[in-house]
Amino acid sequence: MKKEKSTKLELQYQNEKSRPKGVSQWNIAWRRFKKNKAALVGALIIGFVMFLAAFDSLIAPYPPNATPGFYVGEARVPPSLKYLFGTDKLGHDVFSQVVYGARSALYVGFGAAAIAMSLAVLVGLVSGYYGGLVDNVLMRITEIFLVIPFLLILLVFLKVITAVAPASIGGLSIVTLMIGVFSWASNARIIRGEVLRVKESEFIEASKALGASKRRIIFRHIFPNVLHIIIVLTTLMIATAILVEAAVSFLGFGDPAAITWGHQLQLANEAVKEAWWEGVFPGLFITLLVLGFNLLGNGLRDALDPRLRE
């Protein structure tokens, strides 16, 4: 909506060579971000994994839908030119599985983060802005979610829900949903804190004095001012979600039909000594991707912090 507006306004200045342009917070953030090497490396890693996920069927030498899927044949062959990351005990090509696992990892990461952050932003904004009884009730609910032993309840819920849910809903989607639903609480608290800080600002009072409605103040004035926090938290949330999914799959509570790095780790667990390549490569990719998101998140935090000046 904002973009459409600025292009419309730009039209007016089409003929003028020097269209006046202010330096927005985004301009400043981008300038800072470009200077941060670590963050750029993070972005590069994420870009690479996204590339794998986008063209998985082209990259993987033995796609799962081929016959035999993932090359079923020679079991436990060490890495070679034919099998880049070797094969597992069922004769699956580890490299192909790692490539296909990229999509699952990103799916869970982005999906769970989207769910968790939507809840967190909603609860944080409403709780922080309205305060009083609303705040009290929402924060008590948040605390309930915070004191639950996260992984344990996740495993229990997954066991129950996968047993009850119809098979048409993918197991991976349920895992994603569950991770999202159980990990919004701490983010909601952080966002609420930021909202509390911003809502005391004079410009919020000023927009009130100029006749802005409550909804307008929350979404048009407070939200953009806490957006930098939300972006950073989202990045870190993606990393956490990927790790949690890997843990769940490793423990055998994930979707057995899905190709995920965590699932690969679980299968590799029984033969660490004989076939190290089965576990090392998917593990490496988990580490790499999570590291990438963490680097990106840190870089974004430095770039978007309004208190830092160049």
């Binding site: 507006k5 419309k8 306004l9 007016q12 006046p20 342009k21 202010g22 330096v23 927005s24 917070q25 305060g131 009083g132 600002s201 004079e202 410009f203 009072e205 000023a206 927009s207 009130k208 004095a209 100029l210 006749g211 802005a212 409605s213 048009r220 004035h221 953009p224 001012n225 957006l227 309004p306």
Partner: protein, 334 residues
């Protein structure tokens, strides 16, 4: 009270209290004042005397835990305290606008100045974005900003303090309000910019035919701008009169003490007089006249009863039991 039909705002017995853990803070306790059409009223007093809370009460945007518990705020014949919240939203910014003390923080840092002006204009007027932009640029000309077409695309952090305050004034004026509440608009600016901004506001007021309440603790500022002055102390009005009367014939001891605390160029190596003590705790304010613990002329009558605001001479209201004694001859403070 004089019932002139021309008054645009009349506040009667306004009472705004803050319900804090430490007790009920009686920030505004029975304030009555009026603003006539086209007039500038100077609202003067020390920090913490309730000036800002009075102004915030007019727009009904007193922050929690503050509540307006009594009184009437009659704007153009209608009591604002009886309006619904959505009716108030239409009045805020359109009929009555507010200029905040600190221009640095009263602008949203994430939007360009153009966006912020367009937002207010489109909120109250049915115009397209392009028309609103035209108007915004026009407003920038009005507040005497050079190169308005270029400057309007700046973000607040790119502007200087004086520019930000001009921009805040432009935003307040964007819908041609009938009443402007200026809450210490020049306090955070340096002296030369201060003079420019005051001159600008004076001219704009004349040009647009607005009324204005100018809140300040600076007697020099009101002397130049205000037509009438109301002096506030500890949540109450102690004296209301024309600017000249306040300066040449102040009858309330507090007004006099305030005036004596202003440095005077004719003064020769005299020590500046200060008002001993500090503004009282408004949770449990002093009985009777709230100024009595700091007043040089306080007697038993001042402690026992609250002095009402009475018209001592035409258009000169004073809330002091001994005001009549002081009239004409001013006993000097020791």
């Amino acid at each position: 009270m004089l019932m002139a039909p021309k008054e645009i705002l009349k506040i009667e017995n306004l009472t705004t209290h803050f319900y804090t853990w430490a007790g009920v803070v009686k920030a505004v306790d029975g304030v009555s004042l009026e603003v006539k059409e086209g007039e500038t009223l100077g609202l003067v007093g020390e920090s913490g005397s309730g000036k800002s809370v009075t102004a915030l009460s007019i727009l009904r945007i007193v922050p929690r835990p503050g509540r307006i518990i009594d009184g009437k705020i009659i704007y153009k014949g209608e009591n604002l305290l009886e309006k619904t919240e959505s009716e108030m939203e239409k009045i805020r910014g359109k009929e009555i606008a507010y200029i905040f003390q600190d221009p640095a923080t009263s602008l949203n840092p994430v939007f360009s100045v153009a966006d912020q002006l367009i937002e207010v204009i489109r909120r109250h007027q049915n115009v397209t974005k392009e028309e609103a932009l035209e108007k915004a640029i026009e407003l920038f000309r009005l507040v005497e900003i050079a190169d308005p077409e270029i400057k309007i695309w700046s973000y607040p952090h790119q502007l200087s303090g004086g520019m930000k305050q001009r921009m805040a004034i432009a935003r307040a004026l964007s819908c041609q309000p009938s009443l402007l509440l200026a809450d210490e608009p020049t306090t955070n600016l340096d002296v030369t910019i201060q003079a420019q901004i005051l001159e600008l506001m004076k001219n704009l007021k004349k040009k647009l035919g607005m009324s204005m309440i100018l809140i300040t603790h600076d007697m020099g500022v009101v002397a130049g701008v205000a037509d009438r002055i109301s002096v506030m102390y500890a949540g109450r009005i102690c004296e209301s009169a024309g600017t000249k009367t306040i300066f040449y014939n102040p009858l309330h001891p507090y007004t006099r003490a305030l005036l004596e605390a202003v440095p005077n160029i004719a003064m020769k190596r005299e020590k500046l007089k200060i008002i001993p003590g500090a503004i009282p705790n408004l949770v449990s304010p002093p009985s009777g006249c709230r100024f009595h613990p700091r007043c040089d002329f306080a007697g038993p009558a001042c402690v026992s009863a609250v002095p009402p605001l009475v018209e001592i001479e035409p258009e000169h209201y004073v809330a002091c039991v001994r005001a009549k004694e002081f009239s004409g001859k001013l006993p000097s403070r020791s």
